[in-house]
Homo-oligomer: 211 residues x 4
Amino acid sequence: MPHPTFFNLPADKRNLIFEAAVEEFYEFGYAKASISRIVAKTGIAKGSFYQYFEDKKDLYKHVLEVIGRQKTEFSAAAFHDLERNDLLQMVRELFVSGIRFYRAHPKLASIAGDFAKLREPELKREITGDAAVKSNEFFIRLIERQKESGRIAPDVDAPVLADLIAFLSVYVAEHYADQALFGSEKQAMKTIDSLIWIVENGIAATNRPGR
Amino acid sequence: MPHPTFFNLPADKRNLIFEAAVEEFYEFGYAKASISRIVAKTGIAKGSFYQYFEDKKDLYKHVLEVIGRQKTEFSAAAFHDLERNDLLQMVRELFVSGIRFYRAHPKLASIAGDFAKLREPELKREITGDAAVKSNEFFIRLIERQKESGRIAPDVDAPVLADLIAFLSVYVAEHYADQALFGSEKQAMKTIDSLIWIVENGIAATNRPGR
Amino acid sequence: MPHPTFFNLPADKRNLIFEAAVEEFYEFGYAKASISRIVAKTGIAKGSFYQYFEDKKDLYKHVLEVIGRQKTEFSAAAFHDLERNDLLQMVRELFVSGIRFYRAHPKLASIAGDFAKLREPELKREITGDAAVKSNEFFIRLIERQKESGRIAPDVDAPVLADLIAFLSVYVAEHYADQALFGSEKQAMKTIDSLIWIVENGIAATNRPGR
Amino acid sequence: MPHPTFFNLPADKRNLIFEAAVEEFYEFGYAKASISRIVAKTGIAKGSFYQYFEDKKDLYKHVLEVIGRQKTEFSAAAFHDLERNDLLQMVRELFVSGIRFYRAHPKLASIAGDFAKLREPELKREITGDAAVKSNEFFIRLIERQKESGRIAPDVDAPVLADLIAFLSVYVAEHYADQALFGSEKQAMKTIDSLIWIVENGIAATNRPGR
DNA sequence: TATGAATGAGCTTTCATTCAT
DNA sequence: AATGAATGAAAGCTCATTCAT
């Protein structure tokens, strides 16, 4: 976590540093990001940086935390109006808001995507904490409930499906973002619908082929 | 491509270098891998390294090429006995042989996984060429054929399904090391079956619900 | 240009570095000069060097700039008392102050001489800028004026003469410096006078042989 | 001197090596020329190079010797038809044949020019030996003779005039590539005439102003 | 709290030369 | 005589971090 000195900074300066960090992580990734470049870009003193942050990792964690919060805010609005308990509707919204977030903050989304792919398990655990686990559990409960209500086939493997959905929400956003960015949004939505439809159909309780 | 010097090396030394490179890329990833460490580990002279390889990128490309070849050999056997044209069987075998490869060569698989996540589009293109595109096209053709033969519902969006399969491959690859999903052989097969089953059911031509 | 860091250094240290750079460029020339040797000689950290200077070129440019300033100061005094418009008097002073500078600062003069002979047109342009052009134009104007006033023959090729004078001022200094250094100054001055006299006579407007 | 092995080489190979060396010295100068690049360019083995030449210096000396011989051949023809003892005619022919040589072999001429500027007194002495001194003495004798025959004013300082001629040779050589001075054949001749004419006039025995 | 100079290990890469085959 | 792999010192430069002011 950044030192209190950082949060006591005037908003201007704090934002300046944050933006520079975003630029840096966006362009070079975590491993190759350079503190030297960041302080050069912002004009703050090298020493000051270490008053604000423990080290590079600390800065990275902060950036990701902010991104996480923004992402949550982004999807929260969408989730608000959803009929609770409708998994697919929720997944759809997850994909759509993923793409929307990517369109609104491409650099933040890209950094988040890189993080998801990061090769430093310890760091990942430090940053995500049990958020991923919590989210996963939420989806699992949702799936189980829909099995009970007969909307999802009882032999669907809930943990695998929950995990898959989380995974897809990241990769789908990244994969279709350009399409959504440069093509029509409509086309992107149609694509998502096709994808969802396969999954929906795949897990539906009705008329399932015997296994 | 490595210089001929490298291939003329006695197998012992060549392997020593290759193993050291694998260790290094495995532990630090491409960006942070250090030639200095590799030569220190192997005991070869710094200058000698540059007799064998153009530069770090050249070594990396070589390692990936070898991994690619090994992977291909690995799955080739599995694909041999397959009924051609059965999409799902093929995908299933893809996943299974992926896991087997990971079990046999965890470090190589890990390096390959990192490469997939690499943030250097140009380098990726250099190495993979248009393999990804080719593979995508192959799957699309396969899907179309299975639609004609009535095994896949005609209203399935072929490119989207091909994408989904690619996503799933990545998903499986990224979770190789996940104990919960792929810990035991039994667990691994169960997870793969769950994934395949969702897709199979999602695209089946029989008894489909209206959209 | 060196970074402000360098100019903020205590004079002692700054001079130490400057002297070491002069020694290095004097002994090895630009191409073979080694930053590593300079930092070793001065005892400063490698990293510190790069706090002071952008790179080797930056250091070289700085050294040459200082030399240029010192040279200018050197000749400025001499030029002060000159009757404006007397070309030969000026040329004589140019040669003499060239030799004096060489005697006072042989290493600096040697570095400047090397620079004049440097095989890197772009770098040369960067450093001299249009100073050479300006100086050339000044001499051309002077020559033209003396043609009008009848002291120089009208058929003298002004640009060639101006160029030649600039060239000679460097080479004469280098050539006669040793003489001036180890022989008597008087002898050196006599030599210069002989040289000037040939040129003077060669371009005089009076009693010229037909061509 | 190159080892006998070099001269025993088939002419093809020998020329190949020579041309590559010329290219290298032309492009990078002596200090930065790289044996590694030369052997790469020619395809000969690194070890073979050291069978032919002692080291880089040895190769350089050889190249310069060949250039020297070619230059001599070049001017020899021109000097053949000259009235012996006419200093200015000789100097003029020196300049003209210099330019012709540059036109015919720009790279060789450029290497020779670089050599003249080289900062390695010992190497220079090794290569030129006392040629410069000999040439100087030759000109002094010529001048003295022309003084006696009344074509040069008796009060001309012979050693200084010899020096001036040497300076001018360097001046001409250094400006070969200068479009403004030596661009067209006509321009070249005009510039040379201007230079000669200044000297000629400067040292003429007739109608001299008192000193 | 802010500063920014100092640090030196570290990086990738090139070099001329040697030497066993 | 020819080879070309081996060598390791040296190059220029960047890095995250410390610390005295």
